[in-house]
Amino acid sequence: MQKRLLVVVLSLVALLALAPAALAGLPANPKVENENLFEGTARPGGELILGLTSGSPKSFNYYGVIDSSAYTIMENILSPLVDVNPVTQELEPGLAEKWDFSADGKTVTFFLRKGVKWSDGKPFTADDVLFTMQNAVMNPNAEGNEVDRFTIGGKKVEWVKVNANTVKAILPASYGAFLRVVSHALMLPRHKLADKAEGTNPALPPGSFNKAWTTNTNPREIVGTGPFMLEQYIVDQKVILKKNPNFWKVDAKRRQLPYVNKLVYLIVQNEQVAMAKFQAGEIDRLKIGGRDYPTIKKEELKGAPYMVLKGTPVNPTPSPTHLAFNFDIKDEALREAFRNLKFREAMAYAIDRDRIIDQVYNTLAIPSGMPVLPSNKAFFNPEIEKYRINFDLKKAAALLDEIGVKDINNDGVRELPNGNPLEFTLTAAVDLQDHTDIATLLKDNLEKIGVKVNLQLVKFSLAFDKALSGEFEAMLLAFGNQPDPQLRKAIWQPGRPLYYWHLSTMKGKEQIPVFEEMYDWEKKIYEDFEKGEVTMSPATRKAYYDDWQLENARNLPVIFITKGMDVVAVQKSVGNVFLQKNGVITGLSNWTVYKK
């Protein structure tokens, strides 16, 4: 009995001793968060409730799963060496205070922020960085790995510990997008995961790492250096996070972030329920579609306790919706047409973007010529605006006439030079309402100039399968995208597996580019990407990607249509959610918002 009392007393003493340490969880040199994220004077405390519309998390292992819910949650719990500014998308110091490039650009030294602690109080060190890079990020058996981005010319980046607070990355060749890819690598705690990863625990078979941090893991085992830590997961209903007392960012007044004590994700996969729960005041901030804007705005004007913001699109995913024609289609006459630039120009003239923006997006979309968004200042090439093809049915018809695709038999449908009617199937995703709608509008406009379009609406995953296997005629699609084109070269560079509109530029499984199949402009794009990858100077890199965008705009391998704007509904009780001068919505960063 006495023994037990002693234990209690001792642990109380220990707790008291630890308490100041917990309060002083800040490192000596915390990161002062960018001023552009703050608006008013923050009041700490309260809880922020968000809707998790992508469904239940499949796991809490950021690298063990491919699941946007897991990413959404874990991005609050883990943090990277290099930070990205949520407003400008520029790179900033993160867990690494600073970094040096060697003269040849092949060695990068990261100096870690001293005194940063994991949420369980253990220090964050170079060992953690090495562990994360070797056993998670670059582990080919981790399902959510990023090894591809850390592989340059078939060789992998090497990570070396210099001392407890310094790590070196040794690159096989200079690599322009390197810091950008490092910003995607969130750090994992070695002390919690070493025995669960096959690289550090030889007893485990390959792939075991994926089974770490599954959804039934004790929340206390899941530690990170991010603003929040996991408190509880109630299956299919709610994920509760609490403030990490050791978070390493402060506001301008050097108050530790985050402001709110708790961050709650309500799992609401159905967007109507999410809207209802927002209106009922159960959700604090919600991304909504353009169609729901009037509903919320009307209530806002009537004095509802919430408001809605519309902002310039900044998230590169999904890429703007595009229309693609299969360059390798079996039908010879159609292939001839699809490969003809004039034909594709005619199709571009037949796209009524204004009407699409008005009727599909409730005016909340921007016309788009490129996968690179205009808000992406680091890469967007404004030159392409000169090549934008605006809706003009007469010109579209004239172009078709010019290439000899005319309605000879007066049945309302044009004939190809071989006498077959100009008719093709347009495949689009039935589960993406905007794609279905755009396809319906396109069909209407194209039929006005004598082009017969058969709609084929299928599940998005099936549309994707059809695209990648080349089993389509025309396709309406959007990709998951990245701000740095290099990171999605698999789509945009000819000779890559996702360059699906011209698959003959790639040879089978070996994925070797076939230059004989490429047009001159495709070869040029190919070169742009090859050079952009190994160039270090941002300005030179931009020049290469500028050229890619120009070639795209001139030759229309695919025709980009629109990109929906960011629309966010937010309760007025949430602070630091506002519109920047440049039209970007700020306050999607959970560590800077507060409850009034």
Partner: protein, 401 residues
Amino acid sequence: MSETFTNPPVANQPLPKIPGKMPGKTPGRNQNEALLEGEGEVALSQAQKIRLRFMRHKLGVVGGAIIVFLYVVVTLAPFLSPYGFEVQHPEYSLAPPTGIHFSNGKRFSLRPYTYSITKARDPITLELTYQVDREKSYPIYFFVRGEKYDIIGGWKGNLHLFGADRNSGGAVFLFGTDRFGRDLFTRTLIGGRVSMTVGVFGILLSFIIGILVGGVSGYYGGWMDNLIQRVIELLRSFPRLPLWLALSMVLPPQWSSVAVYFGVVTILSLIDWTGLARVIRGQFLSLREKEFVQAARAIGASDASIILRHMLPNTMSYLIVSATLSFPGMIIGESSISFLGLGIKEPMTSWGLLLKDAQSLEALNLHPWLMIPGIFIIVAVLAFNFVGDAMRDAFDPYSKM
């Protein structure tokens, strides 16, 4: 002998009426009543009795009339509708129903007309609004020329029952328009064609198989019953939703969405008779022990005659109720499948697909007219149910009035 314990004989009191739902007095009702009571001199055939009993069920009669009406309407849909169902009017996106007027307060005209409406978008809320201009009116004409169509059976034409004069810029949207400015009235009629017909063949097929197999299983029992029951269990184990998902993806992509839907329904009906078969079998198991069946067997009636003449009529009421409940099931099933994006697809349409457009808080709030196809679903399903109910009463061999 009659239902005196709860109700006085019905013939002695007027039929109950549900306000607004009952049609006026049916001529000759009293005479019919009398005939059913057996007071008439003329002996009635079985069919006549059934018909008379059916006519007594007012809701059933109304339901029957509605069904006939709906089938006529959807058959003639292209003629009855003022536009082609794919015709988009960009300037009338999400327009509310246009009112039909005869008088603007000052002037009366025999020819109905609509007012001019102009689209505007609220600069702040971005809501679409329509301004009605009471000064500008457009007459509605009957038998106007418009989009070409082809009614089943080869009736080609471009004559539409009514419509606005297209050159004047007038428009008539009885049910409003959808997002692309397509006339919802037209689309509802065309959509009804799909919703009301595409499952009929499947129902027929599954009933024939279900009655046959269930009857045999229940009548003979023994190893035959056992075998059939196991086969049924096996068939019932075909997972419907995965099968639907797979079939809708596997059927040739060149097929139109209606053909794909029809194909899937037909394939599914080949395995969907099992529920009915189980119930028929249950009833037969029970019936074959009954005295009258034993008696029939004792006098040496053949199996076929026992099944067809003695047992099947006894399950008739169940079959009728089941069959009529299958039609609503088919209509509602179509709407569920379309909700999941696996059913009818653009540019073709169906009530289910149209209702999907209304399946959002935005639509309920700002564009309530998009729910009109839902009313059609409800009315059609109701009508089938009423008819089924009336049929049940009519077939009931013991039904005495």
